[in-house]
Point group: C2
Chain length 338, copies 2
């Protein structure tokens, strides 16, 4: 559900390395339905012809032209009817509500489908009820792509830090503001730096979601809910946008070896877990200020001290990888022979 740049890239790679990886793990992948906003929704129990689907959609046609399967009216109807083991939820996010992703995930879990999403909405807005629902149905609800693309964050904790407790975290999770601040350090105006980031395709549709810290707050809440057992919502996160520093201040900081970065912090206090987003002045050799990164996160743990995870340049390939990684988790959750 959702066949934009990430869904299309996933399908392309399914025809190559992703398909090989799944087959090496004993699974033959088949896409039995695709729901789009502007190119129709289609189900084919025997599998849709993926190359034809890509061709049709790229030339702005309708999935009805692929010559296989039957049309359905909407994503909701597709989720109800499609014969499948796993739903991939890849719709664009309304960052104020988390919809329509939350409704899609809920409907699929109710039907007993595993759900994989690259969408941060469901985990930021409804992690607890969706997790409970998935457990009741005996299926997995996975969302590695919600934060830092396919860089292991949720799976890092779930698979490699099982025994440790996450006490808090700090991170630079919004690549648009990092790219803008880096360019302003070098002398660009914020407006031209924003246009460059938009050209690179990493920005939210409404740039204020990036600049005013809303995207970072959604990611911070996703982390707090999934890694710290919190039940927080983006609207309750304390937020300060990068505009709190003027371009002159950003450049003056750079001259003294410091970097302004939009930092998200999660911590546990008397009144539960809180998420705070604000630009901070960091030494250049602070991990959070390191160059060439589209996302970095430090987890503070009880048994292992601090562990950082760092993403180089992120893009559609990295987000698509998150889907594969989660699919392999679902495959691996079955015992051999089952």
């Amino acid at each position: 559900v959702g066949f934009g740049s990430v869904g299309r890239r996933f399908v392309e790679l399914l025809d190559g390395p992703y398909g090989r990886a799944l087959r090496a793990n004993g699974v033959e992948p088949s896409v039995t339905g695709i729901a789009t906003a502007r190119h129709g929704c289609r189900i084919a129990a025997a599998g849709l012809p993926l190359r034809r689907c890509l061709d049709v959609v790229c030339r702005q046609g309708s999935l009805g032209e692929v010559g296989a399967g039957t049309a359905v009216a909407s994503a909701a109807e597709l989720i109800k009817k499609v014969p499948a083991d796993v739903l991939l939820e890849l719709t664009p996010l309304n960052p104020r509500s988390g919809e329509p992703a939350v409704a899609h995930v809920r409907a699929a879990l109710r039907r007993g489908l595993h759900v994989v999403t690259a969408n941060k909405g469901p985990v930021a807005f409804a992690q607890r009820p969706l997790m409970r629902l998935s457990r009741r149905r005996g299926v997995l609800f996975l969302f590695e792509g919600a934060v830092m693309d396919g860089t292991p964050v949720f799976n890092l904790v779930g698979r490699c830090l099982k025994a440790a407790r996450v006490l808090g975290f700090r991170g630079v999770l919004n690549s648009t503001t990092t790219r803008i601040l880096s360019r302003v350090e070098q002398g660009a105006t914020p407006a031209s730096a924003l246009r460059e980031a938009q050209a690179a395709g990493v920005t939210e549709a409404d740039p204020s979601y990036d600049l005013e810290g809303f995207d970072a707050a959604v990611k911070g809440c996703a982390l707090a809910n999934a890694l710290m057992g919190a039940d927080v919502r983006p609207e309750s996160a304390r937020r300060t946008g990068i505009g709190a520093f003027t371009p002159a201040q950003v450049r003056a900081a750079a001259r003294t070896g410091r970097r302004i970065r939009l930092v998200v912090r999660g911590s546990r206090g008397r009144h539960g877990v809180s998420v705070v987003v604000a630009p901070e002045s960091l030494p250049a050799d602070d991990l959070l200020a390191s160059a060439g990164s589209d996302g970095v996160l430090v987890l503070e743990t009880d048994l292992m001290g601090e562990i950082g995870i760092w993403e180089g340049r992120g893009g559609v390939d990295q987000t698509a990888y998150a889907l594969l990684s989660d699919l392999l988790e679902i495959v691996g959750s079955r015992c051999p022979g089952q």
Copy 2:
């Protein structure tokens, strides 16, 4: 086998959070044998009394005084006879040969025991034959603690990056040289900086192993062998020690916002995988130069681009955690109900 600071800390924590973590995963841990170099070797099928073992060894007594089990003559004999599911190999390393760890691991795998080691010797000197042996015997050979203590490195790739191929890596893996260079930047002499590092207990017995890059080469070979399918040995790694930069050069670099760090690089070329260790001048905002870290590693992958993993301050607790992490991997490798 090996009951120094890591083994003792592990046993202490087994009485607390580590024991709880194992029980939560359905396993009741029991230490059925301990082999030491100076306090004897002892087997007790019903489990050794761990607090008494710690007490006796801390006051330089012999394990014979704990009032349980029977004595055996050596570590080799213990590995042959001890009733156990898993061997923890924790002896001090001879970094020129990898022994006695390699022999211990081989003997345990031959007997069909799973092996967990915090020792980098076996994976740097004999990863391929030991891995082959473990597969033949249907047991696991795990060594998360060999590089960057308990920070997930091998398990990160094995569990979270299953489908991606590691094309190369770069890292700062020897904390002694990082600590020395950081202090020299601040004006300390190399000799006094080395004494501080020795006091912190993070150095190898022979400081030249750290300073001349041998420890880093052993870790680089461990990574190359385990993550890139290589079969390289530390003696064939190209090595340059940190002495290639004078203290004046280190300080001059710091004044211009750069850091000298001992970098390990692994790459695949025409003649297979090579490992190179050398001090490099890095910008202060390079991930490898980030402050407050005892180890950092960047993996270059085919499907996910670059992923970095960063350890804050490391110590005995972090190394002990590696053992727990590997034990949980062994526990998780059994299907529920088995």
